[in-house]
Symmetry: C2
Subunit: 340 residues, 2 copies
């Protein structure tokens, strides 16, 4: 049986099903980051994520600098999703022989630029030849810090909590759509805005920091939206053992996305619900604390946050309320690069 029969998440669950416990591990495999106790005032966050040429990107659709930036940004987003501060990066590159030194230097310049923007130190790494493979691989481990007691996990949500997201949903997927379907007569301003969102994710570190500092009695759980709202909501629901009801009309859609959806003849809610790589934060708030959270995030960052639904008992599963009030099952549909 090929590895392709299992999804990425199923395979991870299978391989890590019997990991033994070790001292110092506050939280192991299964969240956006591991949480490690190294004895200081803060806890250590650790995450790793890779970009593989031909799977996650091609040099036809991104500049070398953008690829470097993205590789760092997707890892920063995992630190942001715990409420943490990114600190140290280790960069592993696997280089095909055909790639020019200039191209590698440009990818690295993008890595470094993104790291600098978030005051991340590049402290180590590795370079290997790729043998016969033609594909560049960038694999990054990012370490961060979080005050004790402030880490927001996927597992803390409770029935009755309100679901929020930062920013708007689906812009990245819409931007990718315009790249993959260049033939339509998109208005250039909206097209370029969405493409820019897609090409260079802006991880929500400041927003995550504020949400973490509000404490787990206010913000109960958090995850970043990398696989798409429906897929990442499922991760949060599973880890918290809850269900969720999402109100379609509350989904925050940008005007640019609505415009492009109209030109493309594409359902804008489809991008918002299932489009990946938004790198917004999805989090749950204890009932009655909504205003506190609104004000804290808005005043410190100017970033909009939107209540999109409520958590319900696990047996109710994930539901979507249509614009006319009808409920239907929300089926997660996220991209699985092991099944391509």
């Amino acid at each position: 049986m090929g590895a392709s029969r299992l999804s990425e998440f199923e395979l991870i669950a299978l391989l890590t099903r019997n990991l033994p416990l070790h001292p110092g591990v506050v939280l192991g495999v299964g969240d956006d980051c591991a949480i490690l106790d190294t004895g200081g005032n803060t806890l250590l966050l650790a995450t790793c994520d890779s970009l593989v040429e031909g799977v996650h990107f091609t040099f036809q659709t991104y500049s070398p600098e953008q690829i470097g930036q993205r590789a760092v940004a997707i890892n920063i987003s995992d630190i942001a999703a715990m409420g943490g501060e990114p600190r140290f990066a280790l960069i592993s590159l696997i280089l095909p022989l055909r790639q020019s030194q200039e191209l590698i230097e440009r990818v690295y310049a993008g890595l470094l630029q993104e790291a600098e923007q978030f005051a991340i130190a590049i402290v180590g790494g590795n370079i290997s030849g790729a043998g016969k493979s033609e594909q560049l691989v960038i694999d990054i481990t990012l370490l961060g810090s979080i005050e004790r007691g402030n880490a927001l996990m996927r597992s803390g949500a409770r029935v009755g909590d309100i679901l929020f997201v930062t920013g708007s949903l689906g812009d990245s997927a819409a931007g990718l759509y315009t790249i993959l379907h260049p033939g339509n007569a998109y208005p250039s301003e909206e097209r370029d805005a969405l493409r820019s969102v897609h090409r260079i994710p802006r991880p929500r570190v400041r927003e995550g920091r504020i949400l973490g500092q509000l404490g787990p009695e206010t913000v109960t759980a958090m995850i970043d939206i990398s696989d798409g709202l429906s897929g990442d909501l499922q991760h949060l629901c599973e880890r918290s053992n809850v269900g969720a009801r999402i109100d379609t009309m509350q989904l925050p859609l940008s005007q640019a996305l609505r415009t492009i959806a109209s030109v493309a003849g594409h359902d804008p809610f489809d991008w918002a619900l299932h489009g990946g790589e938004d790198y917004e934060l999805l989090f749950s708030v204890a009932p009655g604390k909504e205003d506190l959270v609104f004000q804290a995030v808005q005043s410190a960052t100017g970033t909009s946050i939107t209540a999109i639904g409520i958590l319900c008992p696990a047996e109710e599963g994930m539901k979507l309320v249509s614009p006319v009030g009808q409920e239907k099952v929300l089926v997660p549909r996220s991209w699985d690069h092991l099944k391509q």
Copy 2:
């Protein structure tokens, strides 16, 4: 110009030449591990290293479990080379579609077995598809801890210090030779012993811990021998700004290596000087402290250590003293997988 024109080390130096300084970074790129201050009683060590199918291994010459073990062991060796204790691992796998789930599970079992042997917690990771590539990639970040003041860097060696190595040299290269040249009539016991050394490196964590605890006034610098004695000695000399004189007759050769060299018609000193993947420790000891170090390592671990030379001024470079007392230049000759 292709990336292949530069060696791995030259390319790393080029890419990381202008990295800015950041708080918390005690030691950045350029040693076996980074050293990070996360506020606890101990400092954090961080290293990453990858194995690429077709570059570092094939499934023809190793079992899947051995490949998993090796991937962890080479990272443990980097922690050992600082005097540290390995603690936490993040495992990134890039999986070709053709590979069976059973094979992946066996590789992972090897990873887990090696981690357990050294009480390392697997705390995170990532799985990605490999796209069109046929090559499995295992990229591991390993975190460790070291008492403040005890980390042994490559840069602390001084003129007049005595050079030591743990164990014996060249066994791994000789074992690989018998795998790649199976036609010779090797005595099976010696052949199997050397192949086993090659296939499953035994990182010198206990020895490294003891050497670190002796303090930098006694043990002044350390590196693990992954690229071969000549190549890694060059790294140590460059970082410490010293030269070295190695006495050929003092190089610790196992009886098995001598036997196999004789059958193969191969110079045993060539394997000892230039063969990679020994994963022994190369370290420098302040003059007068040799007996202290001998006794500390020997009594606690039973591992032999051998004085193989002395450090001299940088302008003298690296020299090799032949069995009859003649000096010649020792030219580093280590394997560069970017130039394959």
